[in-house]
């Protein structure tokens, strides 16, 4: 009976307590004084926060105060026992934030929260100035003025639209975008203003001697994608060239297909024009009210070929990752082999004989402790292979070094995981060294001269905040890495020794000409360029055989629908393309062209001659003509030679193309598809009906 009374009593007390507590917390509220803050970066302010009961008396409830890491600092974090806090708030970044308060209670259903807005504008503008403005101008011309706006933090402010002003609009006047139209001779003061900061320059307008424009081009048959250089000369009446007269280029046109397809193209300020569609285009050169024009006929590039399937090594039970194809050595020197990795599987790499590309056969399997073998590489001499490891059961990951001299019986020589526990996503073998991307933070350079005893020589790591690296490719003693937000890095690891054999290669490559000071032990940065998309994923060097221009092709990878795809378990739908960075002046790389397939995403690539081979995920394999000068959108210019959509009903994911990486090899193109294995294709003419799949 006592026990029952005890239980009963407890029940009553519990019910009563809960009721009282619920009544208390339902009525608590925070008051912030002031009720909002507007601060500049680095400023601080005092805020009094009180937690009141319903009857406006002090609640006698303690509470916590919080800001935001690295943005809003608060002191103290906690109120007094009565429920009052005098808080010092300090702000470190621009943006919109909240100062928050929450009471301390284990009754989470009745936890009371309050907040107060804090607005921190960007720092005030410190400088607004013209960039390299002219001091004289010809009457009757139009000049675009470039401007730089900097704030007090030294940051260039792209979000601030400057105002332009002319002291004498009848002499020269600006539009809203910084284009100055010069009407007549005289002197004028030009001002650029951003917020309350301004700067001015004086401009003298002189008589314009231009009386005609001479426009010429090299006569030829031009196709879409061909870059045509127009030479424009502004001439006086006597025919003297006015060197500094500004010439504006423009074009109009009519596409062959009529109104439905635009006569689209691109023309640069220096007169380089490229057409995307066949048709007739008229290019204009204008200066000082005088214009010249030329009409040209652009024909279709017509380089398309058919990608014919020659052989397919179907993999049905696991995802396939990267590949490498090579020629055997020793007793196998008359045969060809390939290796493919596996992804989110059992740590296997498959070795294939591909001598007959129509008959791709797995001849050996190497299994390592990993769930993903993301990358596979073989040394140039065909002796040593490397597999990368991620998801090892021991969490040690690293790389595995193989003897592939007999691809029918591949042997594991050693494992190297010292400091590589975070996983190696990509690797490259060059000059008895493995370049291994370490935990996505840097690449380690590992000496494998004695492949059974590899050792780390050095590392290359960026020093930017939050840096991350995806891949590295080494060619002719230069390492090209792709570093997401930080873009591509071109690193000297020794270049090429000057010899009769290498002379031509070096002299034709501006990067190689300057390289040679670095080494495996001492990699030296030569050049870098951030990716405007922030998603740099691949980097591949390309020396054009047709023009001698040197590019680094920078790939970007993006999964804008990633969350939904994962949640709905549908095939991935990435985006991204390749940016052609002209490295002729390697200290100032300039993006000149882009290749991107609509509604598909770029992955790995290879260049051979003046042809780009690329795996475009759901867009399949793409083969692109990158000969000649490059400018603009290569896809729209009809430079794509061929494509192949790989997929199989019995693939790991059925009927879903997901090309991973290509390698052109001996008149065939081998590539791996994540969902269906290894492919060998050949490019044939469209009317080649020599039996296909």
């Amino acid at each position: 009976m006592d026990r029952f009374r005890l239980v009963f009593t407890c029940a009553v007390l519990i019910l009563d307590t809960v009721t009282i507590q619920a009544q208390e917390n339902d009525s608590l509220y925070f008051q912030f004084e002031p009720d909002s803050l507007h601060l500049t970066i680095g400023d601080s302010a005092n805020v009094k926060i009180t937690l009141f009961s319903e009857d406006s008396s002090l609640s006698n409830n303690q509470f916590l105060i919080t800001g935001a890491w690295e943005s809003v600092g608060v002191r103290p974090w906690i109120s007094n026992l009565e429920g009052v806090a005098n808080v010092l708030v300090k702000v470190f970044k621009p943006g919109s934030f909240k100062l928050r308060a929450r009471n301390i209670t284990s009754d989470r259903f009745n936890r009371v929260r309050g907040s107060m807005p804090i607005t921190v504008p960007f720092p005030p503008i410190a400088k607004a100035e013209f960039i390299d403005p002219p001091r004289t101008a010809y009457e009757g011309t139009t000049i675009k003025f470039a401007v730089r706006v900097l704030d007090q933090a030294g940051i260039t402010r792209q979000d601030v639209q400057p105002d332009f002003e002319s002291s004498s609009p009848e002499i020269a006047d600006f539009d809203d975008f910084g284009h100055l139209t010069v009407y007549r001779r005289g002197r004028v003061q030009l001002t650029v203003r951003a917020e309350r900061i301004s700067s001015s320059i004086d401009l003298r307008v002189v008589r314009n001697p231009v009386r005609k424009i001479d426009l010429s081009l090299h006569a030829n048959d031009y196709r879409t994608g061909d870059v045509i250089t127009f030479q424009a000369k502004a001439l006086t009446a006597s025919g003297r060239t006015v060197e500094d007269a500004p010439v504006i280029f423009s074009f109009t046109g009519k596409a062959v297909y009529g109104i439905g397809l635009p006569a689209s193209g691109q023309i640069t300020p220096h007169g380089k024009f490229v057409a995307e569609n066949p048709g007739d285009y008229t290019i204009f050169a204008t200066s000082g009210g005088y214009t010249a024009s030329k009409t040209i006929r652009i024909t279709a590039r017509n380089i398309q070929k058919r990608a014919k399937l020659v052989g397919h090594g179907l993999i049905t039970d696991v995802f396939t990752s990267d590949l490498w194809v090579w020629q055997g050595i020793g007793e196998f020197k008359d045969r060809d082999f390939a290796v493919t990795g596996t992804w989110e599987a059992n740590g296997e790499a498959y070795f294939w004989e591909v001598t007959d590309p129509s008959n791709l056969v797995i001849i050996d399997t190497v299994t390592v402790d990993a769930r993903t073998v993301n990358d596979v590489k073989v040394s140039a001499d065909g002796k040593i292979g490397v597999l990368t490891r991620e998801g090892a059961s021991t969490r040690k990951n690293g790389v595995v070094i193989l003897d592939v001299s007999n691809p029918y019986d591949v042997k594991i020589l050693s494992e190297f995981n010292d400091g590589l526990t975070g996983g190696v996503h990509n690797a490259f073998i060059y000059d008895n060294h493995v370049y291994a991307v370490n935990n996505g933070r840097k690449y380690d350079i590992i000496n494998i001269s004695d492949p059974e005893n590899p050792w780390r020589v050095s590392s290359y790591e960026l020093n930017t905040p939050g840096h991350s690296i995806h891949d590295v490719w080494v060619e002719n003693g230069i390492a090209y890495s792709s570093n997401w937000n930080d873009g591509i890095h071109v690193v000297d690891i020794g270049g090429l020794n000057f010899s009769e054999r290498n002379r031509h290669t070096i002299l034709n490559n501006p990067v190689l000409q300057a390289a040679g000071k670095g080494s495996h032990r001492n990699p030296i940065l030569m050049s870098s360029k951030t990716d405007t998309t922030g998603r740099n994923h691949a980097a591949f060097p390309f020396l054009s055989e047709s023009t001698g221009d040197f590019y680094v092709i920078a790939g970007d990878e993006h999964f804008p629908f990633g969350l939904g795809e994962i949640e709905n378990m549908v095939p991935a739908n990435p985006r991204g393309g390749y940016h052609f960075l002209n490295m002729n002046d390697f200290k100032k790389p300039v993006e000149e062209a882009i290749y991107q397939v609509p509604e598909a995403g770029s992955h790995n690539l290879w260049v051979k001659g003046d042809t780009l081979y690329t795996a475009f995920y759901q867009g399949g394999l793409r083969v692109v003509d990158i000969s000649g000068e490059l400018l603009g959108d290569l896809y729209k210019q009809g430079r794509e030679i061929a494509f192949y959509l790989s997929n199989h009903k019995n693939g790991r994911m059925s009927n879903a193309t997901m090309a991973w990486g290509p390698q052109p090899y001996k008149n065939h193109i081998f590539f791996s598809d994540m969902n269906s294995g290894l492919y060998a294709i050949k490019l044939v003419e469209y009317d080649d009906d020599d039996g296909d799949e």
Partner: protein, 388 residues
């Protein structure tokens, strides 16, 4: 007998208030005598770190089955590494740490039931274990930095309603295990490569005490505001002497009197008295102890033995290991005990392409009851709910 008692009770009702009081009394009486285990289902969330999935496992007292597979992350073609899991105290949300990023990891917030992603916040390198404080309602996440340089890392404090990071508290090298006392006022973590236990006072947002987790060098440091400025980063430790203890987990006793620290490197679990701030007992375990948990009734300590591929069940009163049971595969990882103290659910990673598993141990009968196969490298595990 029960019915006659009820009749008597009803007949004795003199007024409405008496009747209500006796009704409450009757309900409580019934609750006291009814077997609480009849028809109870247990629900657990578990991660598959090498498969970018989280699974919901249901156990009905006899059989464990996977009832849901939840793909996680936002990069379909990169393994983002789901590692740590916790459920909000109200059971409405679960929180998941994704260890890998470019380069920083994230904590994601999902709704329980629908398992829809609600929001995420970027934290540090390899965010791992985490828990929400009952007192503050804030989420405490260790940034494990498992594969980085051996330098001090941090505990991130996150507002889980807004999913914003409020503060980072610097602790030691490779912090792991983030657990709070039941009153929610102290958060504990260990630093694997510092050999230290860290206590954060949640009301001060700072470290209040540290303790070396081994026996020989008892470094007992009391921290107070102003004695060490934790806002300034410590010097980078490019080389430091790695402790042999390598603590990997800490778990508080439900009475908030002790914590239990797993020393993976020396195969023991130490019991630390929170009042004395000293090691009071040591339990010699099998090879490679990794995680542990104490049952809500304070009776059992369950320890996972990663290297031995076993799970040990200890009687905390006697300090004796009752049984050491083999797991269904290798690389034993995490453990969570049902709130009724009846079952321990242990995640086991597996090797390479082998599925991971959740092994279910009966703490009364000290047996392996069943297991459910999940994705590769099963790791983080959290108890969601019991449903009768």
């Amino acid at each position: 007998m029960l019915l006659s008692w009820l009749n008597m009770t009803m007949m004795m009702v003199m007024n409405k208030k008496d009747f209500i009081q006796k009704l409450i009394f009757t309900v409580l009486f019934l609750l006291l005598i009814i077997n609480p285990l009849k028809g109870r289902n247990y629900y657990i969330y578990v991660t598959a770190e090498s498969q970018d999935e989280v699974h919901v496992v249901k156990f009905d007292g006899k059989k464990a089955v996977v009832i849901k597979d939840i793909p996680v992350g936002v990069w379909p073609l990169e393994i983002e590494g789901p590692h740590g899991l916790t459920i909000s105290p109200d059971g409405n949300y679960w929180y998941l740490s994704l260890a890998h990023g470019f380069p920083f990891g994230h904590v994601y917030k999902y709704e329980t039931g629908t398992d829809k992603m609600v929001d995420r916040v970027e934290l540090g390198l390899f965010p791992a274990t985490m828990q929400i404080s009952a007192a503050t309602g804030l989420l405490y996440v260790v940034n494990f930095n498992l594969h980085g340089e051996h330098e001090p890392s941090t505990v991130s404090i996150v507002d889980p309603e807004e999913m914003i990071e409020i503060k980072r508290v610097e602790t030691g090298v490779m912090p792991h295990g983030s657990r709070l006392t039941n009153d929610g006022l102290k958060q504990y973590s260990v630093a694997m490569m510092s050999g230290m236990l860290y206590e954060i006072d949640v009301l001060q947002f700072d470290i209040s005490r540290t303790l070396f987790t081994g026996r020989n060098k008892q470094t007992n440091m009391q921290h107070s505001m102003g004695s060490m400025d934790h806002n300034k980063p410590m010097k980078k430790h490019t080389k430091h002497k790695m402790p042999k203890e390598k603590p990997t987990w800490v778990y508080p006793h439900p009475a908030d009197t002790h914590v239990y620290v797993v020393n993976n490197g020396i195969d023991n679990v130490v019991e630390i008295d929170l009042r004395k701030w000293a090691i009071t007992r040591q339990f010699k375990t099998d090879k490679g102890p990794y995680n542990c948990e104490v049952s809500q009734d304070g009776k059992y300590l369950v320890v996972t033995y990663k290297s031995a591929a076993k799970t040990g069940i200890w009687d905390l009163n006697t300090g004796q290991e009752l049984v050491r049971l083999k797991n269904t595969r290798r690389v034993t990882h995490g453990v969570v005990i049902s709130p009724d103290s009846r079952y321990a659910f242990v995640s086991v990673e597996g090797i390479r392409g082998e599925p991971g598993s959740v092994d279910v141990f009966d703490l009364e009968n000290l047996t392996l009851v069943d297991h459910a196969e999940v994705g590769k490298q099963a790791g983080g595990i959290a108890f969601w709910k019991m449903v009768d």
